[in-house]
Structure formats: C-alpha cells, structure tokens
Symmetry: C2
Subunit: 462 residues, 2 copies
C-alpha cells in the first residue's frame, strides 16, 4: 500500500489494463478487503473496448470453432466488472505517469485525465511484435497482413478468412503460428508456415521435427531456417513472402512473431528490463505502491530461480489473484512458473498434442543433465484409442531430480504433462515419477503408463 495513505482512508487502487491479470487482481482485492474490513476503491483503465477475454481462444475463433462469436471469448464483461463495484473506463490508454507523485495520465474518450492513486497495478499485458516489412509507407499494416493478439485482430482475421482468397503465409513457428496453421487448414486455405529456426524450437530437434511432419502431413508447407526479407506486392496487395530460401505465395500473412511487454508509459519511471518487463515478487509487488502481473512481467522460473518471460493466461490469472489478495492485506503468493505449456495441431486429418514442462532439454544437457526420448502409445496397443506418443524426459544425474518433460503425440497425449509438472513443483525425482501410482485402464494408458516408462528408462541410465 502506498506510504502516503493513512490507514483510515479509503485505499485508492488504479489498475491499468482490464484483462486476465488486472481483473483477477481487482476482484480478489475486493474479496480480501471485504474479509479484512478494509475499504478499497478500484479504478480500472482499459485501452481497448474489451475486458477479460481469452486471447488464447483467438485462433479457434478464427478457425470458426467458437459458437456465439467473439463475445463468447469474453469471460467477464465491462458491465459485470462495474456491477462488482469497479470504476472501469474503456478506450482509455495510460500515456504518462509520475510514480513519485502517484498519478497516471490517460487518454480517454473525453481527452486526457489524471488519476491519483495509492496503489498502482500495472497489468497492461503485451503488444504483438510487428516487423517493418509488414507496414506500408505510412507505418500502417499492409492489407491482408496482421497479428493475432487481441479481439480486434481476431475479428479482422475472421473477416479476412471469410472474404479473401489464400494462400496464407504464417510467419513464426511458435504456439500461435502452429495454432493459426491449424485454423488456416480448417478453413480450407493453402498454407505456408515460415519460421526463423524450427517449429516449436523449445521442443528440441527430434520432437520439433515430429510437429513439422504433422503440419506437412496436413498439407502445410513448412519453411525452416526461413528469414523473412520482405513481402512481395502486386496491385498494392501482398502476393508473396520473400525469405532466405526463396518465396512463398501468400495473399494473407499472419504475424506470429511473439509479443513484448506493453509498458511504454512507464519508461523512466519504473524499473523495466531491457525488453520492457516488470519484475514483481510472488505477491505482485514491484516496489512501494507499485504492483504488476501478467504479460507485462517476467516471472520467476521455479526450477532455475531465474527470471523468464512466459506470457501466458495461467500465470496472469494466478499472479493477478495473488497480487489482489496481497494488495488488500492478504498473503497469497504466486510461487513461480514451471514453463508448462500445451497446444495442438488438429487439422487435415492430423491430430497432434504438444506439451512441455520444466527447463528445455538443451538447458538441462548444457548443465550436465541427461535427456532421453521414449516412444509408446497413449492407450493399450490392442485398442483403437492407442495413439503414438513420444516423451523426452531430462534430469540431473546427481540429485536425480526431474527437470524437463516434453510430449508430442496423438489424442490424449498432451495433458499427461500435468503429472510431470506436479512432480517438478514438488522437486521430485525421476524415480518418483517412474514409481508413483498413476491411473491405468486400457483405453487410457498402458499398464506402465508411458510417462512413467519414460521416467523409468531415464532413471535406469542415470
């Protein structure tokens, strides 16, 4: 709580960014304040016209999988936030701040307004990275070209997919790139995915190649080691993407090049990393009267103890909730991330589930650890439910502690990562994972669950 505030006064909380982290924080702060008999007044500024929406759902919306349109992606509307007592201002963007004087200036529908606060909650999220080659001379995006980051982007892609012809090029081989490849194939487009290195590079080479193979089997052209040099234009529209290895025909270009913290208004005011991230502690506290959570922040990696930029909705909601509780006198903590992720590529007759937890196998082996790949099936081999699955497990030979698990496989493969994440969370060993009592029945697993076989095989080699 800001030092200038007296205990008897109402605590003025200003939240910048009304999405997952900010609104989790706001609602939890109100709950905790109520429980603690504290009075809290929350103002929330949101640059867009939307609150609390599922950015992760955008590729599925674009693919046509979301009944009810973009509204269905909104977990809580502006009205719902206001009904809870939050003074929410939409279309209001923070443009300047003085953290010493404790105010933020924001540009809204009625011009610039100054907001004084006792506690500032920075939950501004991230901005999609847009390279210069994607822009026209005026700095705007070329027609048919755009990222997939917020609801407006999603609506634009839904419109492009409905009214434009392909082919589609997806630039970027991360999670969003793979998910947009799924969307493009499901929409019947010819698609090329161009990635600077490999598809889902953090999987390591072998598993990355499995995913690339799946994309290719579904008809996607995959260009690896493809440095995009620029877009080719014809009649003021994109006709192709020039990359190191040649050119990919494209009328539509998805920018899936990652994101950066949206913290410009804090420059020179708050401690930002070179990439613009804030670094709050487990309670969401950055400094006196300054709090932050979500995609504008680094998080602590629970295994390495190092800061990592892992912009994911799960961390945003958890860290936001801990922040809100702490702000109002509670003590909930976000105790770090494991790097757990999941996605899928399910289109064109292919169904691949992809998940990770822990360090990357490269990190583990660079530090003297051991990694091992195991192949098997998701169910007993005699049932049609059995799908191929490959699991890489990595551990430290000295402590035998589990350090990383990577999974690529068919239906039912992906969520297996959660059991491994639970072992990592507890600091368990490969032996724990190999021998613990996990569930088995023929439609769900083999008698030695394949995740446990993978751990056991590594355990035997440490």
């Amino acid at each position: 709580m800001g030092s200038a505030m007296l205990a008897t006064m109402t605590q003025r909380v200003l939240v910048i960014g009304a999405d997952a982290a900010g609104m989790s924080a706001a609602h939890q702060a109100l709950r905790t304040a109520r429980a603690n008999g504290r009075e809290l007044r929350i103002t929330a500024l949101e640059a867009s016209g939307h609150t609390s929406y599922s950015a992760c759902g955008l590729p599925y919306w674009v693919a046509g999988e979301v009944a009810g349109g973009g509204d269905a992606l909104v977990a809580r509307t502006a009205e719902q936030h206001r009904a809870a007592g939050i003074d929410l201002r939409l279309h209001t963007r923070a443009v300047a701040a003085d953290l010493g004087e404790q105010w933020v200036e924001a540009l809204g529908p009625d011009g610039v307004e100054r907001f004084a606060y006792d506690d500032l909650v920075v939950t501004t999220g991230a901005r999609a990275i847009v390279p210069d080659w994607a822009r026209d001379a005026g700095g705007g995006l070329l027609p048919g070209v755009g990222p997939v980051h917020n609801l407006d982007d999603g609506a634009a892609w839904l419109d492009r997919f409905a009214t434009h012809e392909g082919p589609v090029a997806i630039v970027g081989g991360g999670y969003i790139g793979v998910e947009m490849a799924e969307a493009a194939v499901r929409r019947g487009f010819e698609a090329t995915l161009i990635t600077r290195r490999r598809v889902l590079r953090s999987l390591g080479e072998e598993l990355s190649q499995r995913v690339a193979g799946g994309l290719r089997a579904a008809g996607v052209t995959v260009v690896e080691d493809g440095a995009v040099e620029g877009l080719e234009l014809r009649d003021a529209r994109v006709s192709g993407v020039a990359h190191g290895g040649g050119s990919a025909a494209a009328r539509l270009v998805v920018l899936a090049l990652g994101v950066r913290p949206a913290t410009d208004f804090l420059e020179g005011q708050a401690p930002l990393t070179d990439s613009g991230a804030l670094r709050p502690d487990g309670n969401g506290r950055v400094g006196d009267g300054l709090w932050a959570a979500g995609d504008c922040c680094d998080v602590r990696h629970r295994l390495s103890g190092e800061w990592a930029y892992l912009p994911l909705g799960t961390h945003a909601t958890k860290h936001g909730r801990a922040l809100g509780d702490s702000l109002a006198g509670g003590g909930l903590r976000f105790d770090g991330a494991l790097g757990t992720t999941i996605t899928r590529f399910a289109a064109g007759g292919v169904h691949l589930e992809i998940s990770c937890t822990g360090l990357s196998p490269d990190q583990v082996t660079a530090a003297g650890g051991r990694a091992l790949m195991t192949e098997g099936t998701t169910a007993s081999g005699y049932l049609s439910e059995a799908e191929p699955i490959a699991i890489e497990v990595a551990a430290d030979p000295g402590s035998r502690r589990l350090q990383a698990v990577r999974i690529v496989g068919g239906r039912g493969a992906g969520k297996r990562v959660d059991a491994a994440a639970a072992v990592l969370w507890a600091g368990g060993t490969v032996d724990d994972l190999a021998w613990m009592d996990l569930s088995y029945a023929p439609p769900f697993a083999t008698a030695w669950e394949i995740l446990q076989v993978a751990a056991r095989r590594l355990a035997e080699r440490l």
Copy 2:
C-alpha cells in the same frame, strides 16, 4: 535369498503364476542378476495356458474392440519368456508346499512334480468370486453365467455375446461391472446392472449417481441396493435374476463380484490374512526366501499407512519389478499405492470417464477432513471440446494436505487424476494443487484448470 543357499551356488527361483507380477519379477531378476554377476535359475509355473495377458482388457475384447483377438491381449508369450531363459511350465498348478523344506508340489500335464527352490515367488493373482446361486447342482457354473477374470472367461463371453440372445444381467457395480455394461450395450444387448449398494460406491453418493445416470441414459437398467437372491431358470437356462426389489430378465449373467487372493496352496504354510492375502514389504519380501506381489497381496496405502487390497495391474507390474530386483541383490522398492484408478462408461451415446486417487471421501470426512464438489468443463466453454466434469477434492484442515480426488466427466476428464496423484505422492497440500503450473490451452482446459479450481475452492474453505 534362502538361507540354505551358498553364495557361490546358482540361486534357484521358483515363480508361481506367470502373469504381470510374476513375469515382471522374473525378467527384472534376470537383468539385475546379470548386472550384479549373480547366477539365477528361474522356473515359473502357470496354472493356465496363458502368460502375461491384460486382464483389464477383457471387457474391451468382449465388446469387440480388440483387433486380433485374445492373442492381442498377451504382452509376452510363453515363447518369449522361454527365450529369455525362464523355464516356464504351463498348465501346472501349485497344489502343496513346504516352506520349511523349501519345495512346492504342482500338478502338471505329466502329473505331480516337486520343485525345490531357494527363493519362492508367489504371484498367483486372484480368483473371481462365484456365489453359490451361480452354480448348478454339480458345482459347475450354470450355462450363460460366468465371471470375467481370465482369458478363458473372456473367450467364453465373446462366444456367448456372439451366439446367444440377451438380455444381459450384470451382477456387481464395481469397475468390471461398469465395463461389462459398456460391452453389453456396445454389443446391442438390453442390459441390467444389479449392485448391492451403489454403482462405483467408493465415488461417494453424488458422483456415483452421475455414473448411474450415465448408465441409464445409455439404456441400462440400474438396480441399486439389489441383493441377488438367486437365478430364475427355464428349460435349464437362466431366464432372470431375482433380487430384493424384484426380478430382472436375463439370459446371460455376468458375475462381477470382485476377486480373492489365490493362495489356497499356502494355507497353514505362509502368513495369510483372513481373506487369504500375503503382505510383502516394498521389496516384495514376505519372509526368508518367500516373496510375493500382485493380486494375491495386500499393498500399503501410502496415505493411511494401512494395508489395502487393491488388485490392479499397475501395482502388480511395479511391485513385481521391485521384487525381482530385490531378489537378485538390487534395492528397487514399491513405495505404496494411492488407490489411483480410472475407467469409463462409453456406450449408447454416453461417454463418462471416472477416476479416483487417495482415500475415499468418507474416510476423509470421518477423520475430520473436509470434502467439496466442484463442477466445470474439461475445455474452454466456448469450444465444442468442453465437456462437463465434476471433481470432489478432500483434505485435512490442519495440515491442509490433499487426501482424495474423485472425478467424473466427459472425454478428457479421467486422466486429470494423475496430477492429483502426483501431489498425493509428494504429500502436497490443496494449495500446491491449486497454484502449481499446470497446462492450459482452450481445447484442453479452462484458464484456471478445473482440477485447480476444485482445489482452490476447498483451500478457501479450510
């Protein structure tokens, strides 16, 4: 190792029962002996004509889901065991033993033979419970009536389902009962499931009713609190099952009443519980020169520390492997069971996945613990992948330690139990489960994974 054996001699190991536990033990013993430079001679006696088959696969085989027939259920054939150097005798049943003199007598194709040993490994598994009302005057099973315990039973049911008319009555509401109800519906039979108490009683009343509701939605008549009084016969064939509440028409009757340890030949020789179970330690050791694992044994429940009879293939293979390693000088341990189970009922347009880990909610609340039910979806609600899921979580209020998780839900629900089992294995709290970094993407989970929401809701109420 038997005390009579000198270190320089070949260690004579006699394995009684060549299924999951016995053969896991035998192969691991050979591996460990090789690594330790020990000489081991293994003889294995098997009463049936089959080795290492998946008993858990029988209901799916009977349902017609197993391509390749009963052989597909066999993980390792007699030839494969023999090729590994194991002297395997099929159709050879142990009938007498003298553990002091260290011999077992077995009746095989060529009569009774006596086998001397240094180490005796008892992995005889279990026998299906067959009530008197299922037998004819001569003590044999009535036609159309039988259990589902071994490959011969499976073949008999496959034949009955292919050549007989229904309706089918399934007596017993445990896992096998539910799985055979699935098989019967998939085969197009009218089916009645009769259970003494509730369907899958260990789920607790609310979740049990969800499963019963699923069975009924698929057209199965479910009779709860149904004490079977006898079979009704017409023309020397079954025509119905008389139970407390009336009578169920039935031409075929599945006996799914559970199993008992198959340890008759050890009576008066070895320390057996009242129900006939052996109680080996984590290394599989019962006493000097006497080892056991699998369905003829109780196992230690890791949470309660008490003995429990949990006849499951997972424990059999793990405990068997630990036994084999220990027998040959290694130290692998089976460190107890959590009571983790999974099954499904997927037929007649219904798909329910059912899983458990830990103590029963009744046990927890009886000991002053708290249990709470949470409902949600398996995926983000705006996607068609979202299926209803109900999760009951129980914990001890003092220590906040997680004690039980029960799950009933649609596709993707069941295997979630593994993350909870991993928390239980480590002795973690509901807070650990609520806040750890589990995987999220819209087709796989909600942003707060429902298992974590369930834990968090309970955590807030402790």
